[in-house]
């Protein structure tokens, strides 16, 4: 079923390191969102279906902050921001708003259901998720979908990490081709002026020949550049996505510290291990659940803000759905309730999806996460790092 055309396009071994890196960078965001699922599941044994909608609210919060700071379409004299202040403000606001929303959802939708069968809380979660999607469509700007302007991000461009040095001669040839291109372009522009037409599309036939000369010069430049680039190898990281990756790692590190090395974290683990015993041991379970929701939701908010800013996500009230599903898969893959498992699951899915595209099967990209999940669960029914035990629904 795979188109032979796309098969030949793939399997470019020199692109493998770059694709692996792409996969890791994207998987990190899955992992960040998956952490929210897994933490809530850990303490409440509840699949928080509204988590994807928390992500959506986070993205919109970031959008509104950027609008407030003057970065909206049509603002006059818009230039790139010079410092990351706005980004940090957006991040913090998104995290705070999402944390608050998480607490609200927990307090008013999940806490009354805590003593009820789990499937009832699950339906409540689905209901809350739908309410936020459709209610969001009523009050949020969804048509047309908006996105955060790339100008808020002061870091434009790429970081190039050389793996294998490139051929200097080819570089010289590339530079030369560039010069030729510039010259051809200048000739063309002169011709446009000379003919007195508004654009290159209105040129006379003779002018069009000059245009095609300019076009082939541009083509030659691209070929020369490509040859030069192919002579070596390097990893290319767009600054925005690099920041996203580092921030994600930092947040995960912070979370690990919080969960493993603080008193609250210890309480959290105790609640996750045994809810009732923990409460008998004098742990304020409600407080711990609230903290869990704050942390999980604000991580989703952080992920949302970074995706919306650095990837350019177009926001509708349904934007959280694919994220919710994929992150849920990541959490289950790693063993739901298990924090390192969520990270592992997220990274694995990110890399797997990228590898499928690399191999030329981009039309099957969305299925691979589920295929891996089913295969893993057949071998390890509790997920990669989880443990399986018989439980009742």
């Amino acid at each position: 079923m795979i188109d032979p055309l796309s098969l030949t396009a793939g399997l470019d071994a020199t692109a493998l390191p770059q694709q692996l890196l792409n996969g890791l960078m994207f998987g990190a965001i899955y992992a960040l969102v998956a952490l929210g699922y897994t933490m809530v599941y850990g303490v409440l044994k509840l699949i928080n279906f509204a988590h994807g909608e928390v992500f959506m609210i986070g993205a919109y919060t970031a959008l509104f902050v950027s609008w407030q700071m003057g970065y909206f379409q049509g603002a006059s004299g818009l230039t790139r921001a010079t410092n990351p202040g706005i980004l940090i403000l957006m991040l913090i606001t998104a995290m705070v708003v999402c944390g608050f929303l998480g607490v609200l959802i927990e307090r008013f939708a999940y806490r009354p259901m805590r003593k009820q069968p789990r499937i009832a809380s699950l339906i409540t979660a689905i209901g809350v998720s739908m309410l936020l999607q459709y209610g969001g469509a009523l009050v949020l700007p969804v048509s047309p979908p908006r996105s955060i302007l790339e100008q808020v991000n002061p870091y434009d461009g790429n970081l190039s990490i050389p793996l294998k040095p490139r051929d200097g001669e080819l570089n010289a040839a590339f530079a030369k081709a560039k010069e030729a291109e510039a010259a051809a372009k200048a000739t063309l522009e002169q011709r446009i002026k000379q003919e007195g037409v508004s654009s290159e599309f209105d040129l006379s036939d003779e002018g069009k020949q000059i245009r095609s000369a300019s076009q082939s010069a541009a083509q030659a430049t691209r070929d020369a550049e490509n040859k030069y680039l192919a002579s070596g190898m390097s990893l290319n990281i767009p600054y925005g996505q690099g920041i996203m990756f580092l921030a994600t790692l930092a947040l995960m590190g912070l979370l690990t510290y919080l969960v493993m090395f603080t008193k609250t974290g210890r309480q959290m683990r105790a609640v996750a291990h045994d809810f009732d015993s923990a409460s008998l041991m004098g742990i304020n379970v409600d407080k711990i659940v609230t903290i869990t929701f704050i942390i999980g939701s604000s991580l989703a908010g952080a992920g949302a803000m970074m995706c919306a800013t650095f990837l350019g996500t177009q926001l509708t009230s349904f934007v959280g759905v694919p994220w919710g599903v994929k992150a849920f898969v990541a959490a289950v893959l790693g063993g739901i309730g298990n924090i390192p498992g969520a990270v592992l699951g997220g990274l694995l899915i990110g890399v797997a999806e990228t590898m499928v595209v690399w191999a030329g099967g981009s039309q099957y990209k969305d299925a691979i996460a589920f295929v891996i999940l089913i295969l893993v669960l057949l071998v390890k029914p509790g997920g990669l790092l989880g443990s399986a035990k018989v439980e009742k629904v």
Partner: protein, 390 residues
């Protein structure tokens, strides 16, 4: 003798009622006719999922996938083997329809078997995500298979299937009900209550679980096949995750394990969004205010219910105060909303509001009655008689 009389009598009654419904549908407008058909399909879907989730206690949240398998099986067969010249009339001969339904039952049963197998090893949420994933994988495969219409969808001939839709619904209800009356049914229930204990008591847990999946998905597949002939066109968007969630909601809202609950919840949840199409447009601030007021009201009732459970009075001064706060809160929110420039003076057409109301009703129902409308109980004429006798 009496046994057979009741059997034959109820079968005849079901057939007659189905044809009656069919006559009503034929006599009414296109809208009503389609709604009658779809309502029957949703009843089948909810009752068949109830067999898996409610009666056997497995956790499937991807029921639309089996619906899809059946539907695409029928559509593929029909579009390949029958002339599409019949697309615009109801001319497909019923034997063909029934044959296609039969094959759809087989394919979706096989799909149910394949998904049921991992359920031997997987528990709870892990199984849930596998069923969900099956639907997603299916969608992507269909999207990439031109013979199945890809992302556009697939045309098929049509037929007037309303009586068969309802016969299927009655068959499904009857099968589930009778199952519960037998020793087999008890083994299903025992798996739900305690898998380990029922295994120890000699119940073949493996067989029960797989049987539940195969049966449930076969019914869903049959419903899918009838959907194809009813619509004449199907598309992957008709079987997305939210369809699965709605079916699941019907089961839980009706009361997991209660067949009557599933039926009533299916009918209610199916018709609610359709009725809401006729709702008048409303000012946004009033909507928000009402939502806030209802939320507070629900909170109050919920607290009062908890009090009642502890043996205290339901209606205390505190409860009345809660009602008051809810009313005042709603008004305050609606006034405040008009101060926000983004929200002020906006009217919301009913079409945009109906899904919001739908989800709000869902949350409220769950908060007020978490065990579902009927809990594990059944409701029927029989139970009324019994109660009257007692």
């Amino acid at each position: 003798m009496k046994f057979w009389a009741i059997r034959v009598g109820s079968i005849l009654l079901a057939v007659l009622v189905s044809y009656g419904i069919g006559m009503v549908a034929q006599g009414s407008s296109g809208t009503v006719s389609r709604l009658i058909a779809l309502a029957g399909l949703y009843v089948t879907l909810a009752v068949s999922l109830n067999l898996i989730n409610g009666i056997t206690g497995q956790f499937s949240i991807g029921h639309a996938a089996f619906y899809q398998v059946g539907s695409y099986t029928a559509a593929f067969l029909a579009s390949q083997l029958l002339a599409r010249g019949t697309i615009n009339n109801l001319g497909t001969p019923i034997p063909w329809v029934l044959a296609a339904v039969g094959i759809a039952i087989v394919t979706s049963g096989i799909a149910g078997f394949l998904i049921g197998l991992p359920s031997l090893r997987l528990r709870g949420d892990y199984l849930a995500i596998v069923t969900l994933g099956f639907g997603e994988i299916l969608r992507i495969i269909i999207q990439n298979t031109p013979q199945l219409g890809g992302s556009y969808g697939i045309n098929s001939p049509k037929a007037f299937v309303v009586p068969y839709v309802w016969m299927l619904a009655f068959l499904c209800i009857g099968a589930c009900r009778n199952l519960l009356q037998t020793a087999h049914g008890l083994s299903f229930l025992s798996v739900r209550e305690d898998e380990v204990a029922s295994g120890a008591m000699g119940v073949n847990v493996t067989r029960v679980k797989v049987a539940a999946f195969v049966l449930g998905s076969a019914f869903a597949g049959a419903a899918g096949a009838l959907l194809t002939f009813n619509e004449g066109f199907i598309n992957v968007n008709s079987f997305t995750m939210d369809v699965s969630f709605i079916i699941l909601t019907m089961v839980v809202l009706g009361g997991t394990g209660s067949i009557t609950g599933s039926i009533i919840a299916a009918l209610a949840l199916f018709t609610l969004p359709e009725f809401l199409r006729d709702a008048p447009p409303m000012p946004l601030n009033a909507v928000l205010g009402t939502l806030a007021g209802v939320a507070l009201l629900v909170g109050t009732i919920r607290l009062a219910l908890d009090q009642k459970k502890l043996g205290r009075d339901f209606l205390t001064p505190k409860t009345y105060m809660g009602f008051g706060i809810a009313a005042v809160g709603g008004v305050i929110v609606s006034i405040l909303a008009n101060f926000l420039p983004a929200l002020a003076n906006r009217t919301i057409p009913s079409a945009e509001l109906r899904m919001v109301i739908f989800s709000a009703v869902l949350v409220i129902m769950m908060l007020l009655r978490p065990q579902g409308i009927f809990g594990h109980r059944e409701f029927g004429l029989g139970s009324i008689f019994k109660r009257a006798q007692a």
